[in-house]
Amino acid sequence: MPSENIIERERCVTGIDGLDNILNGGIPRGNTILFTGSCGTGKTTLSLEFLVHGALADENSLFVSVTESSDKLTTNVIPYDFFEESLIKTGKLAFVDMPVIYERLGLTNVEFSLEDVDTLVRALGNLVDELSVKRLVIDSITSVCYRLKTEEKIREFILKIGKALSNRGCTSLLISEISPSADRYSLYGVEEAIADGIVLMGNYERRGDLLRTLQVVKMRGTTHSRAKYVLDLTPAGVLLVPLLKGGGGI
């Protein structure tokens, strides 16, 4: 029987019904979550929906795009029925290109130093303060890690960015790219150990059918389902249903 003394952490309701049910009400506010999966599994789409719902709920939301220009992103990835153009016009939903940040900070070296890591974390923290951001997505953290090279610097970056965002009450999704055959949740293996939560997105093949799946592997601060769900990306948002097991005989 649960103790009455357990303090429920405030939730950041993702607005994605299925995911909020899996998480018993949403992501514990301030958590840094690794959204990981191979290409085409819906990571960017889902993270964008998380931001759009945040903006609609009056929480300033920021998408930091590392690999794709945000102009291209906004034209391609927002076909939602519930999306309102005014969210961008009023600054509730903002997009920033990471290469622009690098340039402004003078981070021109192919490999960042530990000082560069501090500079980058400070700049992102300032941006969160300046825009009063409550929800942040970095797409992808893997691309940032390419510039860090060593485990030490990756660990330093994830720890510091996680702490900086959490201290500001900002709930963040770090998008991580892995190969379909990967046996871990992040390219470098460091990110997964430090993040507060891991959401694994993948493709599940059953008798020749390829299903998009989502599984919450870890989430600090809440009980949650660890089952695999099948998802569909629709104009009404991401929809989820349980993966059928078929008695395990298939």
Partner: protein, 193 residues
Amino acid sequence: MIKSPGDLANELHELPPSSAINLKIVSDSYFDAIRGIVDIFANKKNLNVIYITVAIPSHSIIDVLKILEIDLTNIYFVDCVSHIMIGGAKKYKNVLYVESPTMLENIMLKVEYLIRKSEGKNNVIVLDAINALGIHNNMKILSEFLHIFINNLRAKDAYSMVFTMEEFSTDEISNMMKLVCDTTITIGGGGDG
């Protein structure tokens, strides 16, 4: 035993929302069943119809509905067979396609999407037919699918109508339907079903 579309609609009218009905269709009463549900019953209750086609492609059902002069405005289809037909099929705007009848989760997802789009209007979901799904799926996964699917629909106050073509039914299918459905209605034939 029910003989006419009007009688079927009257019988269904008495059932509360969230009911799950196994509709056993005997011999040539298929079109009577369709008319009774998608035309008379749905109109009486002001329901959207979400019609899952597994036995035959949606365009064939649409052609039949047009011949029967049934208004298609509030009828949406989840078509599970057209994709696997060689040469493809004519596409309609009120039809969502599932790649294969083995993708049972995707059937649930398309229905969920259509329910969300119905914006407060209640729905009747027709699954035509469980025998056809049984061709492509084993009984374990099919039972699991029906159990989850129908309970989800109940939670949304939707009516579930699962067609069984009586001539092609098996004991396994009958037992499964008894487990997941509240009511069995037989239409057509001469027995006392």
